[in-house]
């Protein structure tokens, strides 16, 4: 069993190690601090941050309803929420185009109002939020489902309002799931490629995020592509590492219950 586990780990690590070995270390710093690369990294971090915020605003209520409410069609609803996870990102990008594109379902009325989404940074954020929302919802819902709804009932019988129960009991209990879901969503946003390319376009400083930049420089400068790839891996490792820190223990503020 351990052997297969190690094989699985190697399967993930060997390609990443190969990337590190492929990097021209003598020129690593100039390659990754190239203005175009920094612009792309900055855009990636900004859009991923915004997209994660969108995911939190839309995803936490969705997760709360899925874990706490009982209603017909709940299983179907959960499956639908997972769809962006299973459709290829390119398909997601096309779907967004059909919805928000210039001649899309919602794009035409938006266009009439003077709002153009395609080829804008907004489109990048929409693409990233679309593909990463399921990660957040799954994580938060899982966390809420495993915590005892009994605490909430006790809080309610002790006179806490539903809002106070939510902020001081439910949310702290779900905090580990919320944090790891947020981090996963952020990481998925950073790596987004297919939907962005299809829906948002590719222009430096506007829509060219780091993954798109890597794919482009690969055409002419493989060394630079390898260096940037490693940079993206490093950022991802930092982000995921932060998500699994020892500080992520469920806790309830003493005075809440």
């Amino acid at each position: 069993m351990l052997g297969v586990a190690l094989l699985g780990l190697a399967f993930i690590l060997v390609p990443l190690l190969a990337t590190a070995l492929r990097v021209d270390w003598a020129h690593f710093v100039p390659l990754v601090t190239d203005p175009a690369a920094l612009e792309a990294l900055g855009l990636s971090l900004r859009t991923a941050g915004l997209s994660t915020l969108v995911c939190l605003l839309l995803g936490v209520p969705l997760a709360a309803v899925l874990s706490r409410a009982e209603f017909p069609g709940k299983r179907l609803m959960r499956s639908l929420v997972l769809l962006p996870l299973v459709v290829p990102p390119v398909v997601g990008g096309l779907a967004l185009l059909y919805a928000f594109g210039r001649f899309g379902l919602l794009g035409a009325p938006l266009h009439a109002l003077g709002v153009e989404i395609s080829f804008s940074t907004t489109a990048v954020v929409l693409a990233q939020a679309f593909v990463s929302l399921p990660y957040l919802v799954l994580s938060v819902e899982g966390s809420l489902s495993t915590t005892e709804a009994g605490y909430e009932r006790v809080a309610a019988t002790l006179g806490a309002s539903p809002a106070a129960t939510w902020w001081r009991v439910t949310l702290p209990l779900a905090l580990p799931g919320l944090l790891s879901g947020t981090v996963l969503a952020f990481a998925r946003c950073l790596g987004e490629f297919g939907a962005t390319l299809t829906f948002a376009g590719n222009l430096e400083g506007v829509t060219r995020t780091l993954p798109l930049d890597i794919y482009l420089v690969r055409e002419t400068d493989p060394d630079s592509a390898a260096a940037l790839a490693l940079l993206l891996v490093a950022v991802a490792v930092l982000v995921v590492g932060a998500a699994h820190g020892p500080w992520l223990k469920p806790r309830i503020r003493g005075n809440a219950v």
Binding site: M1, G101, F119, L197, R208, L216, V217
Partner: protein, 266 residues
């Protein structure tokens, strides 16, 4: 406990065997394609590596040729010209190689990978692709640079982008695109969907779009003509078959297929 360990062993064996079988199945099908010439039917396999833009025309030529020579089995491998060169340099088996520009072919001849001198067999020029209704009223290259026109171009790093830059220079224009796409098909897609008002693509792309986009020709396109070259790969597994395909491409029937698809004379 005992039962559990048996179960675990079985599961582990299953996983390992399953993975091994899946992997060997992949490689077996990969080899099958290349090893077709050894089959008992004694079919001759000709392997043609061609630029992605030749997909429709070369597929048609191969089908026509197979009808005349039933003993031929023609395998077509389409990719970007750069990728084709990399594959051949890495030792991929090929009899014929056709690139979308001369610079890429030069890399192969310099490397000694081509038998004899490659032949020029077609050319392709840029044209402006617009949605059929031409909403932005594009009539010339200068219209692409007008403020408010949503133009998409290929990024300069890819061949169609380099060609676009050449015609921009020839026309002394600076086009500010709303997007720099990774390939010419991405440009075509953005125009066909109506997201963009115009884009620079090849004449053959417009011809192949089946009415999804309309072409607007412009005189400066003559400053960036792509010449296609075809050559026999040195050490070709089936040099005779390769020569047959090559002469078909440069001959009357092949040239007619290319002309119908919008390619120009070399």
């Amino acid at each position: 406990m005992r039962r559990e360990s048996v179960w675990v062993k079985t599961a582990v064996t299953g996983v390992v065997l399953g993975t091994a079988m899946a992997l060997s199945a992949c490689s077996a099908s990969g080899q099958g394609a290349a090893a077709g010439s050894a089959s008992p039917v004694a079919k001759k396999t000709v392997i043609v590596f061609a630029a992605a833009s030749l997909k429709a025309t070369f597929t048609q030529m191969a089908d026509d040729l197979k009808k005349q020579h039933p003993e031929l089995d023609i395998k077509l491998n389409f990719a970007g010209s750069q990728d084709l060169v990399a594959q051949i340099k890495a030792g991929a088996p090929a009899d014929v190689v056709a690139t979308a520009d001369l610079a890429t072919m030069d890399k192969l001849t310099a490397n000694g990978s081509v038998d004899g001198t490659p032949q020029h067999f077609a050319s392709n020029t840029l044209t402006i692709a617009v949605p059929p209704s031409n909403p932005a009223n594009i009539g010339s290259l200068a219209d692409l640079a007008k403020p408010g026109t949503r133009t998409v171009l290929c990024a300069v790093q890819v061949p169609c982008g380099a060609a676009s830059q050449k015609v921009e220079k020839a026309a002394s224009l600076t086009i500010k695109p709303v997007s720099e796409e990774l390939s010419v098909s991405d440009v075509l897609g953005k125009v066909a969907s109506g997201e963009a008002d115009a884009g620079l693509v090849y004449k053959t792309d417009v011809q192949g779009s089946k009415g999804k986009v309309k072409g607007v020709d412009f005189p400066q396109s003559s400053s960036a003509v792509n010449t296609y070259a075809i050559g026999l790969v040195k050490g070709a597994p089936d040099a005779d078959g390769g020569r047959l395909f090559l002469s078909d491409v440069t001959g009357d029937s092949g040239q007619a297929v290319l002309a119908a698809a919008g390619f120009g004379k070399p």
